[in-house]
């Protein structure tokens, strides 16, 4: 047994079996409980990841401002962005680092679920080498694959669809708005690509795996909601106010109030010009005004 199997896989497999034995050998319950436990253990990392994402979201107006200011000088833009990240204490690679730490745990959990399910005869035979010499472990096997009318050893289309939906919701909630069209396009692509990919995989794999993914996504949605609300799910991308998000208008206008020398721009929109009611073309009223003038 290699170190990965010895340190990670074996304890997880035995945990799954022991939990199942406590719940009458039900493997579905075991998957859900272990996924919850692992999520709780990883909560500090998850929280830091979500907080970091939220900070990143809040920083978007300032980033947009910088983008606008240094549209032609990408090197300068990068420098300014880095300075801003440093100033606000955001580490853009931080989210990724958290993900790097979490990834092996999720892979191990996935592998353990698949191994413990022992679908093919080879799987059952292999499972014997992972078992601790505990009576509860030996007596619990083979685990019952029936859960809420599902056969966890066979693919389930409905569960696969759930995987896609919950992953989309989770990703949408976590998605930061982007002012860079390329970045926005990438995010949009990821938003659809991953849920679709996981749905396709779920259609092909035993339902035990999608059950784990759905549970995981639901837990993440709950944590995300408690910490940052609905996030990207409630955000309306554009308003009538000059094509800007409502909540960013105040922040942007403060920059716009500055003189052209201060911001280095050619044109500065004044506060008066900023009033939407005065700038907007109102078909009925404007037509009347035009007639009166005539």
């Amino acid at each position: 047994m290699n170190p990965w199997e010895l340190i990670i896989q074996q304890p997880l497999i035995n945990c799954l079996i022991v939990i199942a034995s406590v719940f009458g050998g039900n493997f579905g319950v075991s998957i859900i409980i272990l996924t919850i436990v692992i999520n709780l253990a990883m909560l500090p990392l998850t929280l830091s990841q979500i907080r970091s994402s939220k900070k990143m979201m809040d920083l978007q107006p300032k980033l947009a401002e910088l983008q606008k200011k240094h549209a032609k000088d990408k090197q300068k833009l990068a420098q300014e962005q880095m300075a801003l990240y440093k100033e606000t204490g955001i580490k853009p690679a931080g989210c990724l680092l958290t993900f790097v730490i979490q990834l092996p745990v999720w892979i191990a959990l996935y592998q353990s679920i698949m191994l413990a399910m022992a679908i093919a005869p080879e799987g059952l035979l292999n499972l014997s080498s992972y078992l601790y010499h505990w009576e509860a472990v030996f007596n619990a096997l083979p685990l019952s694959r029936s859960f809420l009318g599902l056969n966890l050893a066979e693919p389930n289309f409905i569960l696969a669809i759930f995987v896609g939906i919950t992953q989309w919701v989770q990703q949408k909630m976590a998605q930061a708005p982007s002012t860079d069209p390329r970045q926005a396009q990438q995010s949009q692509m990821m938003l659809w690509l991953f849920p679709m990919m996981f749905t396709l995989i779920s259609i092909s794999f035993p339902a035990g795996l999608p059950l784990y993914w759905v549970t995981n996504s639901i837990i993440r949605i709950i944590i995300q909601y408690k910490l940052a609300g609905w996030g990207g799910l409630s955000r309306k991308p554009k308003t009538d106010e000059g094509g800007r998000d409502k909540k960013y208008v105040d922040l942007i206008s403060s920059a716009e109030r500055k003189s052209t020398d201060e911001v280095g721009a050619d044109i500065v929109i004044t506060e008066q010009q900023q009033q939407p009611s005065k700038n907007r073309y109102l078909p009925g009223k404007d037509r009347e005004k035009h007639r009166k003038r005539k």
Partner: protein
């Protein structure tokens, strides 16, 4: 100009993050790849009749090798069942899907004077003419049963087997006509997969189930004679000798039961599952266990006389050669236990543990035949341990 090109070369922060994300996804994809043991591959053992060895290959066909001239004969490749494989080949239903291989065959073929029989993971039983391996009959003629993992046994013109649907079946061995089926479910026991090969003796069929119960059925009509509940799944083939049934279970016990009524004679506890069929020689039971040990027990009392630590799990049924019992570990180490001297000798190691061996061993004319996971039939001299040339089972499909 230089500055511009440098700028172009330099990846933006977003680009870097995107690149790392892709890298992580690749790592994830590898980690989330098919876990070993998800696909049904098969481990059929060989059986020798008239200088010809018959076995089911991982490509899903019955193959016959003439051991004199090493000529090869093959039956038609059996077709996959109704479902399975999945988008990424991770569902074993209906047949093996390892690298696009055929239907998995686990049970060792069984032969009579005229016919050779095999059962496939696609849920069908096949009978072939021994001479040319032409198909004689298939059961069921239409459709498929649940996967069949255990082997078939023929006795008194009847063929018996158990299925993953939890039923045991009896067919007419000559025609493949259905005779009877028996359900393993009762008020006390739920129905679960049967992955074991039955044993037939004195008009009784003995077979274990993954529902943790060992059964005795009347071969005449399939009526239940007795049941013996254990604490673990029973996937081993029982050994029935002189009114005693020896059967290993996943609860780590090897049981000796009265064949007549299923009462317990004795039980012996090991440290892992008993997967292989035990062997009786000279009043001693030789039981290979997945804990890597071979236990030598008194057949009458079950008391441990000796144990040999082979250090690797044992899943293959052993064979007897003169006074020696031959065992093979899952990693391919072959050992010989001299029953007279009570001594252990390592005969050979196949491919330094790079192959997997789960199926029963076969022996003929002092040569051990081992079906390995790399689609070869390995041959080892039972006396000297010399590794002989292998027979190729693959048809390049």
């Amino acid at each position: 100009m230089n500055q511009i090109s440098r700028k172009k070369r330099r990846l933006s922060l977003t680009g870097k993050i995107f690149a790392v994300t892709v890298l992580l996804l690749v790592i994830g994809a590898i980690g989330f790849g098919c876990v070993k043991g998800l696909t049904a591959i098969g481990w059929s053992g060989g059986v020798v009749s008239d200088d010809t060895i018959y076995l089911g290959t991982q490509e899903g066909r019955l193959v016959a090798f003439n051991l004199t001239d090493e000529s090869r004969l093959s039956a038609e490749k059996i077709s996959a069942g109704s479902s399975g494989g999945g988008l990424f080949g991770c569902i074993p239903a209906g047949g093996g899907c390892a690298g696009g291989a055929g239907v998995a065959i686990y049970g060792t073929p069984y032969f009579t004077d005229e016919l050779v029989y095999i059962a496939g993971y696609n849920g069908k039983v096949y009978a072939y003419n021994k001479e040319n391996l032409a198909t004689r009959w298939v059961y069921p003629r239409e459709g498929y049963l649940e996967p069949i993992v255990g082997g078939v046994v023929v006795s008194d013109g009847r063929l018996y087997f158990g299925g993953s649907d939890g039923y045991v079946y009896a067919l007419d061995a000559e025609t493949g006509d259905f005779l009877w089926e028996a359900d393993t479910r009762s008020e006390d026991y739920k129905r679960d997969k049967i992955w074991a090969t039955p044993a037939i003796a004195d008009g009784t069929m003995y077979i274990g189930s993954t529902n943790k119960v060992f059964y005795a059925f009347n071969t005449a009509d399939g009526s239940r004679k007795w049941v013996f509940p254990t604490e673990g799944a029973v996937t081993a083939t029982p050994l029935v000798v002189d009114g005693t049934v020896y059967i290993g279970s996943h609860d780590r016990y090897l049981y000796a039961l009265n064949a007549a009524d299923g009462t317990l004679k004795w039980k012996f506890m090991a440290e892992n599952w008993f997967w292989a069929k035990p062997l009786l020689h000279d009043g001693k039971i030789y039981a290979a266990c997945l804990d890597g040990k071979v236990y030598v027990l008194d057949a009458a009392t079950g008391s441990k006389l000796n144990e040999f630590d082979l250090e690797e799990p044992l899943a293959s049924d052993p064979v007897m050669h003169d006074d020696n019992v031959i065992f093979c570990t899952r990693e391919g180490a072959i050992y010989s236990i001299n029953t007279a001297q009570n001594s252990l000798r390592q005969l050979a190691v196949i491919d330094e543990g790079k192959v997997e061996i789960n199926g029963p061993l076969a022996i003929h004319d002092g040569v051990i035949y081992i079906h390995t996971s790399d689609l070869l039939l390995r041959r080892v001299n039972a006396e000297t341990g010399a590794i002989l040339s292998s027979l190729v089972l693959s048809f390049g499909e």
